[in-house]
């Protein structure tokens, strides 16, 4: 009964088809410091654009369908996904809730809050400060950037961009499962106060996983879109955005669909994580006061991870109740942590952090040439804004109750999706006019910072300046570009150094090199130069920049593209193999159950086929066999054969019963 076709198809196992090597696709990545034309060659109108809020602690993805934005749920049914990536000893990469769940047992390889490290140098004060709180290891990469070190496998180190990439890949996957189609184009959000390197690193994260990042949008601006789309109200809006790791304040003027950012300010290193750290310190102190043993709990990574989780839980609870209990049994040996924490205590110990948001708030208002009372509406975004003390303080500041209509966790992703729809042309009559958060300038004689584009300038924008030589025959000029608000360059952030070379030897002051600085709509800076005499483009060499080199990025993109496609194919195949194995189990089970009524020859025939199929399964798992058609055919035929045998057996059993009944009348 095992048909001939099966045997024929089995023969094809001889020519097993291995996982095909895919042609290496190279993604065209826009060069950061393009020496080319400043005009975009072709503005592509992407089809469907998803919006991703890549948060410090949680991420979300949304899409606009039929002019209505909606959040897409992940496979667990959650509307946000923890921005946590873990590497296991088995070589698995876990993202989201699964990574969070195993954090206690694998804290050294569980990477959280990496957004606070993205686009930063290892030596940065903020990074050095964080290292003491983090359960994983931060190392210095060759180029001076802060990277993350694993202790599994070959002790690979990852850039924060790569970790962000894993999260983005997960969000892309969430979107694709929901939409049932490929999601290639994305708008990704960043804190408004992110500088050029941090923006660039975020964009790289998207490109690393094969996303076409059509725009980098500021988080508070995106939130304003989510608010403005529903309300259709005009007026001045303040967005107070305190998330897991960053704080932003933006002031916008909404006028008939045009969302014009008037000013923005913030702190890229202030958020829920800092509140957690304060609370962790408090809990540790409280424990030490009553500790009987002498173990230094801060050296115990697992205990610290448990305290951190308890701290976060208590903090969240205190947004809804006035008192909560912090209980951690058997934190070390036979000692427990168990005490009550009141909302007022939390308020008091984090007051210095809450107050830290005041200065940027005042600056943003004055930069927009406004008074506090001019603001028509205040919206609060980011999980931390659920803290009642923060709501009260912002309300007092503006003398206005903050609007609570937008969801603090979802507004940013929804806004990103709306901007995506604006860029794809799906939503018309809406335009975002965003600004650059930091002043762009160059270093002049004596380490002075000479501003070129002031902060809060609407992007895209550009400025041209002419440089000349200082000595006869000089053939190159060095230009150092900085971002920041301080008068001395050493207090600002070095964005890049570039060198104008191949200047024709002429007396000093004669050559005229026109350098143009562009800030594109992503807030990313591009520099190009033109020799005015010859009309030729001057050569620019960039070095000392944060981030990955072009070659590095391309290499990683290739790798990830290759693995994603291969992964997908293998995954699909292995699913079929698993199915087949289930059928094998079922068949064996059935033979056992009906053993009495199955003919020997049937048993033998099915047994033979089962052993062949089992070999196919093990070959597939070891990678020696790769043939979806064959597996599918085996599934069908094995199922049919078993069914038939079972039916026959059923008939026999009924017959037997009848016989027994007729032979033994009671």
């Amino acid at each position: 009964m095992f048909s001939i076709t099966f045997r024929q198809s089995l023969r094809t196992t001889g020519s097993t088809c291995r996982i095909p090597r895919l042609p290496r696709l190279s993604l065209p990545i826009r060069r950061f410091y393009a020496s080319g034309s400043t005009i975009k060659a072709a503005v592509h109108k992407p089809v469907k654009v998803i919006g991703i809020d890549l948060g410090t602690t949680n991420s979300a993805v949304a899409v606009v369908e039929g002019e209505m934005p909606r959040i897409l749920e992940n496979s667990q049914g959650d509307r946000t996904t923890p921005s946590i990536v873990a590497f296991t000893t088995r070589g698995d990469v876990l993202v989201g809730a699964t990574a969070k769940r195993q954090a206690v047992v694998n804290s050294e390889n569980t990477f959280y809050a990496t957004k606070r490290l993205i686009g930063r140098k290892f030596e940065d004060d903020e990074v050095q400060n964080d290292i003491s709180h983090l359960s994983y290891k931060v190392v210095k990469h060759e180029n001076g950037d802060a990277w993350l070190q694993t202790t599994v496998g070959e002790n690979l180190s990852y850039s924060p961009s790569q970790i962000g990439g894993f999260v983005l890949k997960e969000m892309k996957h969430v979107a694709e499962t929901n939409l049932n189609s490929e999601a290639k184009n994305a708008v990704i959000t960043v804190p408004a106060y992110f500088n050029d390197s941090q923006r660039q690193a975020t964009k790289t994260a998207g490109e690393l996983v094969g996303l076409n990042v059509v725009r980098i949008v500021n988080e508070p601006t995106a939130a304003s879109l989510a608010y403005g789309m529903n309300q259709k109200k005009n007026g001045l809006l303040a967005v107070y955005d305190l998330g897991g790791g960053t704080f932003d304040i933006s002031v916008l003027d909404i006028d008939d669909g045009v969302f014009e950012v008037r000013s923005t300010n913030g702190d890229t290193h202030l958020g829920g994580e800092d509140f957690d750290n304060v609370l962790v310190k408090y809990i540790v102190g409280k424990f030490k006061d009553s500790q009987k043993g002498d173990e230094d709990i801060t050296k115990n990574r697992m205990a610290m991870q448990r305290i951190k989780e308890a701290a976060e839980k208590a903090k969240i609870a205190l947004s809804h109740v006035h008192k909560t209990r912090i209980q951690i049994p058997f934190i070390v040996k036979d000692e427990n942590i168990d005490f009550e924490l009141a909302e007022s205590e939390l308020d008091e110990m984090t007051m210095h952090l809450i107050k830290k948001t005041m200065e940027p708030l005042k600056k943003a208002i004055s930069d927009a040439d406004l008074k506090r009372s001019d603001i028509d509406e205040v919206i609060m975004v980011g999980g931390m804004t659920r803290m009642p003390r923060i709501r009260r303080m912002v309300g007092d500041f503006f003398n206005k109750k903050p609007n609570t209509e937008v969801n603090p966790d979802e507004a940013v992703a929804i806004g990103a999706a709306i901007q995506g729809a604006v860029l794809s042309g799906e939503v018309k009559d809406v335009l975002l006019l965003d600004v650059t958060p930091l002043t762009l300038g160059i270093e002049t004689y004596g380490g002075l910072f000479s501003p070129l584009i002031p902060r809060n300038t609407t992007v895209p924008c550009k400025i041209q300046t002419t440089y000349s030589t200082a000595v006869d025959g000089q053939n190159s000029i060095d230009v150092n570009v900085y971002q920041g608000e301080r008068p001395l360059v050493r207090d600002n952030k070095l964005i890049g150094k570039f060198k104008l070379t191949d200047i024709p030897p002429k007396p000093k002051g004669v050559p005229k090199i026109q350098v143009s600085f562009d800030i594109d709509a992503d807030g990313i800076i591009k520099v190009s130069a033109l020799d005015k005499d010859s009309g030729k483009r001057a050569s620019i060499t960039v070095f000392g920049k944060t981030g990955m080199s072009q070659a590095e990025v391309e290499q990683l993109v290739k790798q990830s593209k290759k693995t994603t496609k291969e992964d997908q194919m293998t995954l699909n195949y292995l699913k079929h193999v698993n199915n087949l194995e289930l059928i094998v189990f079922d068949s064996e089970q059935a033979i056992n159950d009906w053993s009495r009524f199955i003919l020997e020859e049937e048993k033998e025939s099915l047994g033979r086929k089962l052993s062949i199929v089992k070999r196919m399964i093990s070959d597939s798992r070891s990678g020696d066999l790769f043939d979806v058609k064959l597996i599918k055919a085996a599934q069908v035929e094995l199922k049919d054969e078993t069914m038939e045998i079972i039916q026959n057996a059923g008939q026999r059993s009924r017959d037997a019963r009848k016989k027994v009944q007729s032979h033994e009348p009671n």
Binding site: I39, V43, V258, V422, T458, C461, A521
Partner: protein
Amino acid sequence: DYNATLKKEELELIKDKEIQRILSCFRLDYYTILDTQPGIAKKDISKIYRKKSLLIHPDKTNNPKAVDAFDLLRKASRALEDDKERLPLDSAWTDARRDLIQEKGWTISDDRLLKSDFLIEWR
């Protein structure tokens, strides 16, 4: 849909024309760039700026010159919103107007001063 396509084409044409118009202006002639007259109120300047942005912002059109046109539009409106920059410009305009009236032998209250022919010549 035939009509929709036609309408879209028309809108694109209007956008391209506006970009062309802005790029052909003298880059310091802020009033002409905004296609308005001296004496306009500050809040109307931002209104015009936003309205024109909806047309020519690089997010709204495929025209590769949109970046430059938008840059001019932005600079023009920012300059006119800033009194420090606007006042010297306005006095230059007033002088030009006076010279033009003298040249023509008109009086200050002449009706022809409000006609578009004069406004264009003045600019």
